[in-house]
């Protein structure tokens, strides 16, 4: 019987130092905050973290992971004004930063999950962020070649989940979570509600269980106010 639910203490068993990790969420909405705490507990370091931002401040979530100096490099679109811990470490040269346009980071992650190693986009062509990347002209327009992002680990927040790993999300808590779930060797999910297999309508499942490896039932309630 497939049962992907594990205890939170076992959620990150085997995660190695130096891993590339994806963290879902946009702002505090859909951020797998309790999983991040567990990853801090597990101790993996020298991480390359791919997320939309670099922390919403406070001592939770991405900010906490960075505060505990587990992150060597941040790949994100918008570090965020409240990402003070990150800003400090970045200024001190302790954390590298790669800024990627938000749509490009989303598409690179989706490509990683979909077996597309690289694709062209007009985004960033002729700008600082496109510098040094191969370009190609199609139908008179210049496009930049972007590489897929594949990760060792993804941390996902979802609303409902069954033991096969089928997931639904809540409102804008969806954001990067479904595409990140596709793009990692090990996808770990925290779900608000553990539901029975068959409770989710096959037509409304957003992430099929095939993308999910481990699940933790954490009825943690609402994201913190920001």
């Amino acid at each position: 019987m497939i049962d992907k639910f594990v205890a939170i203490a076992d959620a990150f068993e085997g995660v190695a130092d130096g891993s590339t990790i994806l963290i879902g969420g946009f702002g505090a909405s859909g951020e797998p905050t309790q999983l991040i705490d567990a990853l801090v507990e597990q101790g993996a370091k020298d991480l390359t973290m791919v997320a939309n931002g670099a922390g919403a401040g406070g001592d939770f979530g991405i900010s906490r992971l960075i505060e505990h100096k587990r992150v060597r490099k941040v790949i994100c679109s918008f570090p965020g004004r409240k990402a003070l811990v990150f800003a400090e470490q970045h200024k001190a040269g302790e954390v590298e930063l790669e800024i990627v346009p938000q749509g490009t980071i989303a598409e690179r992650i989706r490509a990683g999950g979909a077996g597309i190693p690289a694709f062209y986009t007009a985004t960033s062509a002729g700008t600082l962020l496109g510098e040094g990347k191969p370009t190609e002209v199609f139908d008179g327009v210049t496009y930049v070649l972007e590489r897929a992002i594949k990760a060792d680990l993804a941390l996902i927040e979802a609303w409902n989940g069954d033991r096969w790993g089928n997931l639904t999300y809540r409102s804008t808590g969806r954001n990067f979570n479904p595409i990140m779930a596709m793009a990692a060797e090990l996808t770990v999910v925290q779900v608000q509600h553990k539901v029975e297999l068959g409770d989710l309508d096959p037509e409304t499942i957003i992430t099929p269980g095939v993308f999910v490896n481990r699940m933790v039932h954490i009825p943690h309630g609402n994201p913190p106010k920001f």
């Binding site: 946009f26 859909g30 800024i99 990627v100 938000q102 985004t123 700008t127 600082l128 804008t172 969806r174």
Partner: protein, 221 residues
């Protein structure tokens, strides 16, 4: 904008007034993304009856007005990370689909702010010099290259009094040649093959006065 008038007898539009002016040019039924900050205000001046569909790049199609404090839902935020609401007919999508909409040319309009815009429509609105310790681009580049129309909502002069409409942008570009129209405190200006062309001046303003705050040739359309 300073309290002192830049030109005698010419009252510049306030940000709210510029937002209202943009709203007048919005066509009913359009799908529109409003950039974080001032452009967001435009939504307040588009009548609900127009059924404009507002896109928020974090996964909303059909965003409504800001909710009252009692109605704030921490699971429902917009791209500026403010509390949002959904209109009847809204849809929730994930980030890759949301940017497929932006990049794929499905937005009728995107309204952004700007640090600089050049006479050929180059836009600079994400970084001052590229040397910031941690610049933040967000979705600006994808929106700028993808939307069918990119309009700007901006003041003519920076806080330091420097013209933002220029021959060439000195700040790092967001996207090249993307801007179609500019709504400012003094005018509405089209970016044409022949450069800047004002299509409307505020009351009392002359094109000669406008030229004094634009760092590139500008003429009436």
């Amino acid at each position: 904008m300073t309290d002192k008038l830049l030109f005698e007898n010419v009252k510049p539009r306030s940000r709210v007034e510029i937002a209202k002016r943009v709203a007048q040019d919005v066509t009913a039924g359009w799908c529109i993304n409003l950039g974080i900050g001032i452009p967001t205000m435009i939504a307040d001046y588009v009548p609900a009856s127009a059924e404009v569909i507002f896109h928020s790049e974090n996964g909303i199609l059909g965003m409504g007005t800001a909710p009252s404090e009692a109605d704030q839902d921490p699971w429902l935020i917009n791209a500026g990370k403010q509390y949002a609401s959904l209109v009847t007919g809204a849809a929730i999508i994930h980030h890759a689909d949301s940017f497929a909409i932006a990049r794929g040319g499905h937005l009728d309009l995107c309204v952004l702010g700007a640090y600089q815009v050049s006479q050929n429509g180059d836009l600079a609105n994400w970084a001052i010099d590229g040397g910031e310790s941690a610049p933040a681009v967000g979705g600006a580049m994808d929106l700028a290259v993808g939307a069918k129309r990119v309009w700007l909502l901006m003041t003519h002069l920076s806080k330091a009094g420097v013209a933002k409409l220029t021959e060439n942008c000195s700040y790092p570009l967001t996207a090249a040649g993307c801007v179609k129209r500019i709504y400012t405190d003094y005018a509405v200006i089209d970016v044409t093959e022949n450069g800047f062309e004002a299509i409307e001046l505020v009351d009392g303003m002359t094109i000669e006065q406008l030229q004094r705050i634009v760092d590139a040739p500008i003429r009436m359309a």
